[in-house]
Every structure is written in structure tokens, then in C-alpha cells.
């Protein structure tokens, strides 16, 4: 009798537990997010770094990270989804738009992902997001900066990073700042000394849209473009491109280059002893860890627009904490590209938590309403909040300058925005040794 009642009692207890807290039994549930990055081919290095940063962030959310002062680091899964873990499924699009679209389709139909993230190359993001739009699957884009991407009226596409128009405007603000004496450590430069600009941009979606934007802002801010050219980033030789730039004798040289072509371009320009006063790269290649590692002191004075500089960890606590985890694991500091990958996964976690569901409609609503406060981001942004087009309106860019340190290496110092500057600006560009 005693045994029987005990058995009945435990059965009832078990059943009531089952009914009362479904979450307890679905705790091991996984939420699949498809992530598309270029993991092989010419962009394999950056793809690998992006993947690492995304994995580190998912790990912080899924398995808690006591030393990180962001609420999600104490979640151990998505709280409103019964502690479900985020599972990132990585796919390699090799920088090929058609391949990206095929992979997106297979992620949606075969892997049944809840949403998509990626794809770094703007051209690939364009096709991938078109697939997501067709199937009504939400996509959060972490690191593609072609402005056109959020001008297409898509209902299932959101972008956390500021886009190139923000960054190009920053460049012209810096140029203007130089002529007005606002830059730390430099007296006002007469505008005629900085009047003539020349640019060389790689000729895919991203580079050509940067070129277009530079042309536009140059007109608006009253500068002259003496030479503008587009080139193939996978060229075995950039001598003729570099010659054309040098022949234009510009006061400032502006670039939009991926890693391989940025290395080749700088080496080629150095070989020609190219002279200019102001040397700026629009992110991508210019701000990667390998850029500084490979070129070393040759890039003393080179500027790069970026969204993250490891110096930011001095002023932003959480950036330092996440960076420490990443660096302990992989040996490199976070960069503008990888830190945006962190924010991409973070945005997904917040959105899923807010939606409290994996239903696409609920996620769509959550995306449109999300508001991540500034102090929970590793980025120096005012937060994450999307406008009607899906663009985060609270992002802002940085411009960093590589400066030679006493031990012969280079470090990236913040020179713009002026209020965040961490070092005196080196002007004019010191040239090559």
C-alpha cells in the first residue's frame, strides 16, 4: 500500500511538472541561425576571424561568461525561450553571390534555420537577403556596408552596422576638421593644400558604391577628385593602377580595398616612392590584423575608417571584457569586422528573447522594436535601433591612424571623432623609408 501510493504520488508529481513547466523539458532545444561567411578563397582569413567572433559570442550567451557585464552573459541560453541555446550553422560562400543564394536556400529549406546572418561581402548579402525575403525568413546583417542594401524596401532585412555613407561622411568631416584646426595635434591646414583627392576602389558592389559616395561628398564638401579608378581586387599586379594614382599627384589618396589588394597596393606604391599628404582606407583590408602584421612600420600614418579599435577597450568596459575572451582564445584583438560579428550574434539573441518565439512574424516585430542600449555593446555606438528600412540609426564610425610605437611595431590610434581621439594626428603622411 505504502509503495503503491508512493508510486502514484510520484507519477502525479511527474505529470504535473510536465504540464506546469514545458520550458524545463525543452531546455536543451536549439535555435538554429544560418551564418554565411567567406570561409575559403581570397577572403578566407577574414571569414575565419568572423566565424571565431560569432562562435565566441554564441558561447557567451549559451554558457554564461561571469566576467562580462552584459545581461546576456548571465543568460545561459535565451531566457524567454526556456533557455534554448543558439546554434550557429556556418556556410562558406567563397565571396560568390550565386553560391551565397544557393546556400541561403538550403539553410532555410534543409536546415530549417530560424534566421540568417552574414554575409560580409555586400554583393553576397544582396543575393542572400533576396532569398530570405522571398521565404519570409529574417536576416540580420552584421558587416556589409553597401548603402544600397537597406534602400530596397525589404521587410525581412535588418543591418546593425552603420553603412558606407556614414563612414565616407566621417572622412570628409575629418578632412574639414583638418582645415579648421579641430584635429588633435595639428594646426589648421590651408584648404588648398588638401584640395585634390584621388581614389582607387575595388570594382565589386562595395568598392564601387564607396567610389560613388566619395564623389558625392567631395562635391558637397568642396573638394576636387583629380583621379578616380576602379580595379579588380584579384589582380596579379596593380602597377598600372598605382601609376595612374601617382600621376594624378593628389593631396590625398583614398582606397576601398580588401586585404590582398591593400597589401599589394601599398607595396607597389612604396616601390614607386609615391608622395601624398593624406592616406586613407575605407576599412576592410586596411583595418585587418594581418594588414598591420604584414606591413609593419610601412603604414605609419595610414588612416583607416573602422568601427572598432582595441583602444576603445580603455573607454568601454564591456568591449575590453569580450576582447579579453577573444584574445585569450585566438591571440588577436577584435577588429572592426570581428566586433561587428559579435554585435550581430548579440542582436539575434536580444531579438529572439524579445520575440519569445521562433515564429518569423514575431521575430520581425521584435526586430522592428528592438532597442539595445549603448552600454551593452562592444561598439562605440549609441545603441542598436532600426529605422523603417531596417538600418541601425544609432551606429557611428571611427577613423584610426596607424602610428609607429617605440618597439618598431604599429598601433591603431583613434583620431576621429575628435572627442574620442587617443593620440596626436600625424600630418602630413610621413612617406616611406
Amino acid at each position: 500500500m505504502k509503495i503503491r501510493s508512493a508510486a502514484v504520488f510520484s507519477l502525479v508529481l511527474f505529470l504535473s511538472l510536465l504540464i506546469a513547466s514545458p520550458a524545463a523539458f525543452s531546455a536543451e532545444k536549439e535555435i538554429k541561425i544560418g551564418v554565411l561567411y567567406p570561409l575559403s578563397g581570397a577572403l578566407a582569413t577574414i571569414g575565419r576571424d568572423l566565424q571565431r567572433a560569432a562562435e565566441v559570442t554564441a558561447d557567451i550567451i549559451n554558457n554564461k561568461a561571469p566576467g562580462v557585464d552584459i545581461p546576456m552573459a548571465q543568460w545561459g541560453g535565451i531566457p524567454n525561450l526556456g533557455g534554448a541555446k543558439i546554434k550557429l550553422i556556418f556556410k562558406d560562400h567563397r565571396g560568390e553571390p550565386d553560391r551565397g543564394a544557393d546556400l541561403a536556400k538550403s539553410l532555410i529549406l534543409d536546415d530549417k534555420v530560424v534566421g540568417l546572418m552574414g554575409a560580409y561581402n555586400s554583393a553576397v548579402t544582396k543575393t542572400v537577403s533576396a532569398v530570405a525575403e522571398r521565404y519570409g525568413i529574417p536576416m540580420i546583417n552584421d558587416s556589409s556596408t553597401s548603402p544600397d542594401l537597406t534602400e530596397r524596401g525589404f521587410k525581412w532585412f535588418w543591418r546593425t552596422t552603420p553603412h558606407d555613407n556614414y563612414f565616407n561622411r566621417d572622412l570628409f568631416e575629418l578632412l574639414k576638421g583638418l582645415t579648421e584646426g579641430k584635429v588633435k595635434g595639428v594646426k589648421a591646414v590651408p584648404k588648398k593644400n588638401l584640395q585634390n583627392l584621388a581614389y582607387a576602389c575595388e570594382n565589386t558592389e562595395w568598392g564601387s558604391s564607396v567610389a560613388k559616395s566619395i564623389e558625392g561628398y567631395a562635391k558637397e564638401y568642396g573638394f576636387t577628385i583629380t583621379k578616380g579608378l576602379l580595379y579588380n581586387a584579384n589582380a596579379p599586379d596593380l602597377t598600372s593602377e598605382a601609376k595612374a594614382l601617382v600621376a594624378a599627384k593628389p593631396d590625398a589618396m583614398l582606397f576601398a580595398a580588401y586585404l590582398s589588394d591593400s597589401l599589394l597596393m601599398i607595396r607597389t606604391l612604396k616601390g614607386m616612392k609615391a608622395q601624398t599628404k593624406f592616406f586613407w582606407g575605407q576599412d576592410a583590408g586596411f583595418e585587418m590584423a594581418d594588414f598591420a602584421k604584414t606591413l609593419g612600420a610601412d603604414i605609419n600614418g595610414v588612416l583607416t575608417r573602422t568601427v572598432f579599435i582595441d583602444k576603445i577597450t580603455k573607454v568601454k568596459k564591456v568591449a575590453g571584457q569580450v576582447n579579453a575572451i577573444y584574445k585569450a582564445k585566438y591571440g588577436d584583438d577584435l577588429t572592426g569586422a570581428t566586433a561587428r560579428s559579435v554585435v550581430g550574434v548579440q542582436a539575434w539573441a536580444y531579438v529572439l528573447n524579445k520575440a519569445a518565439s521562433t515564429d518569423p512574424k514575431a521575430i520581425q516585430k521584435a526586430c522592428n522594436e528592438i532597442n539595445i542600449p549603448a552600454d551593452e555593446l562592444v561598439m562605440p555606438w549609441a545603441g542598436v535601433k532600426f529605422d523603417a528600412k531596417g538600418q541601425n540609426v544609432l551606429g557611428r564610425g571611427l577613423i584610426g591612424q596607424y602610428q609607429k610605437t617605440t618597439d618598431g611595431k604599429v598601433s591603431l590610434e583613434i583620431v576621429y571623432p575628435f572627442d574620442l581621439a587617443t593620440a596626436n594626428f600625424i600630418y602630413p603622411f610621413p612617406g616611406w623609408k
Binding site: 596579379p236 598600372s240 614607386m272 604584414t294
Partner: protein, 295 residues
Amino acid sequence: MLIADALLQGILMGLLFALVSLGLTVIFGVMDIVNFAHGEFLMLGMYSVYWANFFFHIDPLIALPVSAVVGVLLGLASYYWFIKYLLRGPAIAQLFGTFGLMLFLQYFAMFLFSADYRMIDKGILVGKSLSVGPFIFDWTKLAAGILSLVAFAVVYYFLHKTKTGKALQATSLNKEAASYMGIRTDRMNAIAWAIGGGTVGMAGGMLVNFYYAYPMVGILFVMIAFACVALGGFGSIKGVFFAGLLIGILEMIFPVFGHLIGSDFLGPHFKFTIVYLAYFIIVVVRPQGLFGWKN
């Protein structure tokens, strides 16, 4: 002035392209095999000098023989352990076989060395330039040009003046007749692969002085090498030399021409369009290539 400068730079680049293509045309000439893995031999030549410099601090210029040896060994290993077996199958097997070898070497390199870009930052010639009047030359490119001239002279001498070279030519003209004459064609094939591997390995060793090494670098240069070989005439040493020069010059002159007439349309982004257009025209007008004799 600009044109003269572009011409000189084009010749230097062209000599390098020709050196990269030399091995490809030798192998094709002797065996009628297109070695798709040619670019990967170049890549491994680059890595061999890079690592010799990285681990043993040998100057990249002095480490050049390392890349030649690596190239020769790679050529011989590919031939004896792989290509020899492919010869038993149909021609398509050889095509896919070397294509497979290309993929294998690419991903094996990625597995061993990771996808990182690697560049040599110190060396006798690295980053140094020579000013002659108004012209500025990269020392590394000058050295690559000189190496290319030497390599062509040696290979040309070997093929035309030595007994083995003549046997090699006989094999390429008519394999069966050559073997009836007592030429060991198997050995000739191996020699062709050794020359092919050695020259392209050296080209890689030179290239790493001014170009970054990464597992997929081969494809960039091998595309041009294919154009050189087809343009010059499959299997022709003289042909590949002049085709290389032609491509190098076209690639440099064209953007300068565009600059002079003030046209952005003729900018550098179309430079390889012109190169391949020239290739297309020659292939249509003269299918055997500039100096070709094989059908």
C-alpha cells in the same frame, strides 16, 4: 615619358609572366598534358622561400634554390606517383587528374599553413627601388626579370644543344618513334616535369619577394600562364616568352593610354579584358598560337 615607363614596367611584369608559364609549356610540349596544378607549384615555391626565411632567417634571394629544389621534387613526385598512372586512362582522366591535384594541393596548403596572407618584410631586395633618371624600378621585379631571362636561356640551351634536350624534343614530336629509337620516353616525361616544377618553383621563390603567399594564390597567375601558353603556341618556348612580354606590356600600356586620352572608360579595370581579347583574336586568327606548330 609615361608610355616609356609603362613599357619598361610591362616588360618586367611580362618576363615574370613568361617565367611562370615556361614550365607549363614544357610539360605540355612533351606530354600534351595541361597541368592545372601548375599554379599550386608556384604557391608551394612561394611558401618554401617564405618558411626558409621565417624559420632560418635566410634571405629570400639566397633561399631561391630552395624553391627550385622544392619545385623539381614536386614535379618528379607528381609524375612518378600520380601522372604516370593517369597516362593509362583516357585524355579526360589526365585533365581531371591534374585538376584534382590542384584542389588537393590548395587545401593541403590551407590545412598546413592556414589561409593567412604571408609576406616577406625584410630582405636584400625587399621594398628597395632603383631610380634611373625619371624611372623608378622595384629591385625585386628587376631581379625577377633577370632570373626569367637566365631561366629561358638555360632551358633553351638545354633543349637545343644537349643530347637529353634533343631526346626531349624528339619525344614531344613523336612519342612512339622516339621510343623505337631507344629514347626512354618515361624518363623524358619525368625530366619535363622536373623542368616544369623547377622553373615555376623558382618563379614562386622570386615572386614572394613582392607578392603575398596564400593557398589560393596560384590561380591568379596560372590564368595568365594559360593565356601565355595558348597565345605563344602550345609547347613553344619562344612563343611563351614573347606571349608573356606581350601580355605584360598590354596590361601596362593600356591604362596609360586611357589616362593620356583622358578616358575613364579605358581605365585599369579593363586591363585584363584587353589581354584576353588579344588572346581571343589570336586564337581565332591563328589557332596554333604565335609560334605554335602542334595541332
